[in-house]
C-alpha cells in the first residue's frame, strides 16, 4: 500500500555519510594532506584556482580533497566560497612584463631578449608511464644553474611589445589620453552580464571558463571554423606582484605574489585605407601554471573579436553570446545535472495531454487502435 513518500531527510543524511566514507576510502591508508595535494597535484590546484577564480592554494587543495578529485565539483566549492567574501579593494593593473619568469617561450622568433626558457614543462617528455613514480623513489634536485644566468637581470620584454614596437601589431586597445587612467575594467561577478560585452568582461569570462570547452572551441578555429592564423607569439609563466593603492600612504604596496600563465597569440593581419597592415592579437591570462588554458583562451579571445575586426561571424567560436553563455562549467554542470531532480509535476502535465491526444488519434482511426496494443498499456 502506498503512503506519501517520507524520509527525504534521513535519505540525504545517509547518502552524505556514505559520501564521507567513500571519500576517505581504505582507512589502512594514510589520509592525503592538503600540503601533499598542493605540492604534488599542483596543476590540479592551479586549474581549480583559475576556474574557481580565487587565488588560494590551501582552499583549492581542500576543495579537491572534499570533491574526491572531481575538478568541476572542486571549482564549484571554491566559487561558492569566493562569492561570500567581501571586497576590500581593487588591485592595480598587474604588469606581466615585470614577471619573475619560470617559463617563457616564443614560437615566432628563434631568439629574443631574455631568451627562451623551457622551465618545468611536459613538452618533449616521452609519454611513457614512469614506473619509478609508482614507488617513492627519491627525486634528485635539479642541477643548479649558474646563478648569473638564472638571475635574469636581462629584461624580458613581451614579444607582443617587441612586434608592436615596430608598428607591426595593433595596439592592445585605445591608449587613454595622456594624464588619464585606463578605464576601470568591469567585473561580471558584480554587475549583471549584458550582450554585447566589452573585451575586458569577455576576457574575465574566458579566464573563468571551462578549460575543456575553450580547448575544443580554440581547436575548432584551427580547423577552419573561424580561422585566424594564430602564432604563439609568447607564452610566459611566472610570478607577478599584486599591488594595492593605499590612500593613506599615497603609493601602492604589494599584497603578495601570484603565479600566472599568459599567452599572446599573434594573428591574421589586417589593414585598411587608413591603417597599415598589422597583426592582430588574441590574449589569455589565467592563474597558476595552465598553459593549455591560456592558449585556448587566447584563441577564443581572438575569435570573439570578429565583430570588432569586421570579420564575418560564421563559426561557433566567434559567437559571443553562445561562447560566453556556455563557457562556465559551474553553470553548465548545475543545469545539466538538475535533470535528475524530480520533474514529476511537469511530467504528469505532459502525460495527461499525450494520453488525451493519443485517444483522440485512435478514435479518429479506429482500425489502427485495434492493431496496436501499446495503446492499451498506455491508458
Amino acid at each position: 500500500m502506498y503512503v506519501a513518500v517520507k524520509g527525504g531527510e534521513a535519505a540525504i543524511k545517509a547518502a552524505h555519510e556514505l559520501l564521507a566514507d567513500r571519500r576517505r576510502g581504505d582507512r589502512a591508508l594514510p589520509a592525503i594532506s592538503l600540503e601533499q595535494i598542493s605540492e604534488q597535484m599542483a596543476l590540479a590546484v592551479d586549474r581549480v584556482m583559475s576556474e574557481g577564480a580565487l587565488y588560494d592554494r590551501e582552499l583549492a587543495a581542500l576543495a579537491i580533497k572534499q570533491a574526491r578529485g572531481d575538478m568541476i565539483e572542486a571549482i564549484f566549492l571554491l566559487r561558492a566560497y569566493r562569492t561570500t567574501l567581501p571586497r576590500m579593494g581593487y588591485s592595480k593593473l598587474v604588469d606581466t612584463s615585470a614577471m619573475q619568469i619560470h617559463r617563457r617561450i616564443s614560437a615566432t622568433f628563434k631568439d629574443l631578449p631574455g631568451g627562451q626558457i623551457l622551465g618545468p614543462t611536459f613538452d618533449y617528455t616521452h609519454r611513457l608511464l614512469d614506473p619509478s613514480l609508482a614507488t617513492d623513489e627519491e627525486v634528485p634536485a635539479p642541477e643548479a644553474v649558474n646563478p648569473s644566468d638564472d638571475q635574469t637581470d636581462e629584461p624580458m620584454p613581451r614579444v607582443s611589445d617587441l612586434i608592436a614596437g615596430e608598428g607591426l601589431m595593433e595596439a592592445d586597445s585605445e591608449e587613454p589620453e595622456s594624464g588619464c587612467d585606463w578605464d576601470e575594467p568591469g567585473d561580471l561577478t558584480r554587475k549583471p552580464m549584458q550582450f554585447p560585452m566589452s573585451r575586458d568582461l569577455r576576457l574575465q569570462a574566458l579566464s573563468r571558463g571551462d578549460e575543456g570547452f575553450l580547448l575544443s572551441l580554440g581547436y575548432s578555429t584551427q580547423r577552419g571554423f573561424g580561422r585566424s592564423h594564430p602564432f604563439a607569439g609568447e607564452i610566459r609563466i611566472g610570478e607577478v606582484d599584486v599591488e594595492v593603492e593605499v590612500p593613506e600612504l599615497g603609493f601602492a604596496v604589494s599584497v603578495g605574489r601570484i603565479q600566472v600563465s599568459e599567452c599572446q597569440m599573434v594573428n591574421q593581419f589586417k589593414g585598411s585605407k587608413t591603417v597599415p597592415p598589422q597583426f592582430t592579437r588574441g590574449y589569455g591570462l589565467v592563474f597558476g601554471q595552465s598553459e593549455r588554458k591560456s592558449m585556448s583562451m587566447a584563441l577564443c579571445d581572438r575569435a570573439l573579436r570578429a565583430k570588432e575586426l569586421e570579420e564575418d561571424i560564421l563559426a561557433p567560436a566567434q559567437d559571443e553570446e553562445f561562447v560566453i553563455s556556455h563557457a562556465d562549467n559551474v553553470q553548465a554542470t548545475g543545469f545539466v545535472e538538475h535533470l535528475k531532480l524530480p520533474h514529476y509535476v511537469d511530467f504528469q502535465a505532459e502525460l495527461k495531454l499525450v494520453r488525451q491526444m493519443q485517444s483522440e488519434f485512435y478514435e479518429s482511426s479506429p482500425q489502427t487502435a485495434e492493431a496496436d496494443d501499446t495503446q492499451e498499456a498506455a491508458q
Partner: protein, 221 residues
C-alpha cells in the same frame, strides 16, 4: 570600500562622520528592507519604522537608514543641493554608505530629496530605457508626515481596489509630474517617502487620483 575604511580608522575622515552608524546592521537592514519591500509591493501603505542611525541633523535618521539599506559603493547617490552642500552629511554618508555621489540627478541610482514646494521635477531623474526600464532612479523623499487620510486615491498593482494616502507636504506640481511618470511605463522613477517615523512607496505603476479636489487645492496653495 566602506568595509576597508571602517577597519582602518586613520582614514583622515572627520571623527564625527564615523559615529552614528546602524547598530547590528545585518539584522537592522533586513528588517528595514522587508518593510520597504512590503511598502513597494503595496503602494501607499504606511509602514512605521525605527532605527538607531544618527546621521547629522540635516536628514532624518530613517532616511539615512533607508539609504544604508539600499545603497553602497555600487550605486550612485544624488543629494539635493542643500544636502550636498552639507559637508558633515556628505562625510557621514561617505563613511557609512560609501556610495559615489552623482553630479547630475539623471546619473543617480538613488536621490535624496526634501519634499515640499521646492522639490526638483521628477523628469530630471533616470527613467530607465525601454530595453532596461530597471535602470531608473529610486527617489527617497523626506516629508513631514504620512497618513492614510484620503488626499490621494491610489490604484494599480499591489492595491486591492483603492488605497488612500496623504503626503505632507509636496510640490503643487507633484501629481501632474507623477501622472507623466506613470504614463511612461515600463519606464519611470519609483519613490520611497520617508517621514520621521514611517515610510510609504509609490512604484511607477501606481495611479494617483485626487480624492477631494478641495483638499488638494489647500495643499497646492
Amino acid at each position: 570600500m566602506a568595509e576597508m575604511m571602517s577597519n582602518n580608522p586613520a582614514t583622515g575622515a572627520n571623527l564625527d562622520a564615523m559615529i552614528g552608524g546602524l547598530g547590528d546592521p545585518v539584522f537592522q537592514t533586513q528588517r528595514l528592507f522587508r518593510s520597504i519591500m512590503d511598502a513597494m509591493a503595496r503602494p501607499g501603505t504606511i509602514h512605521p519604522l525605527k532605527t538607531d542611525a544618527q546621521p547629522p541633523a540635516s536628514i532624518y535618521p530613517l532616511t539615512a537608514a533607508v539609504l544604508a539599506t539600499l545603497a553602497d559603493a555600487d550605486t550612485s547617490v544624488w543629494l539635493e543641493e542643500a544636502l550636498a552642500d552639507n559637508s558633515a552629511l556628505v562625510n557621514w554618508l561617505t563613511f557609512h554608505i560609501g556610495a559615489p555621489f552623482a553630479a547630475e540627478p539623471s546619473e543617480a541610482s538613488f536621490a535624496v530629496l526634501k519634499g515640499g514646494k521646492e522639490m526638483p521635477a521628477l523628469d530630471g531623474f533616470a527613467k530607465g530605457s525601454q530595453d532596461y526600464p530597471d535602470r531608473s532612479a529610486t527617489l527617497i523623499i523626506e516629508v513631514e508626515a504620512l497618513s492614510d487620510k484620503p488626499q490621494w486615491c491610489l490604484s494599480g498593482p499591489g492595491i486591492k481596489d483603492q488605497n488612500s494616502l496623504t503626503v505632507s507636504v509636496l510640490s503643487s506640481l507633484f501629481v501632474s509630474q507623477w501622472q507623466d511618470n506613470h504614463a511612461l511605463f515600463p519606464r519611470g522613477v519609483d519613490i520611497i517617502f520617508v517621514s520621521p517615523d514611517a515610510i510609504a512607496c509609490l512604484p511607477r505603476t501606481t495611479r494617483i487620483a485626487l480624492a477631494n479636489p478641495n483638499a488638494s487645492d489647500k495643499q497646492e496653495h
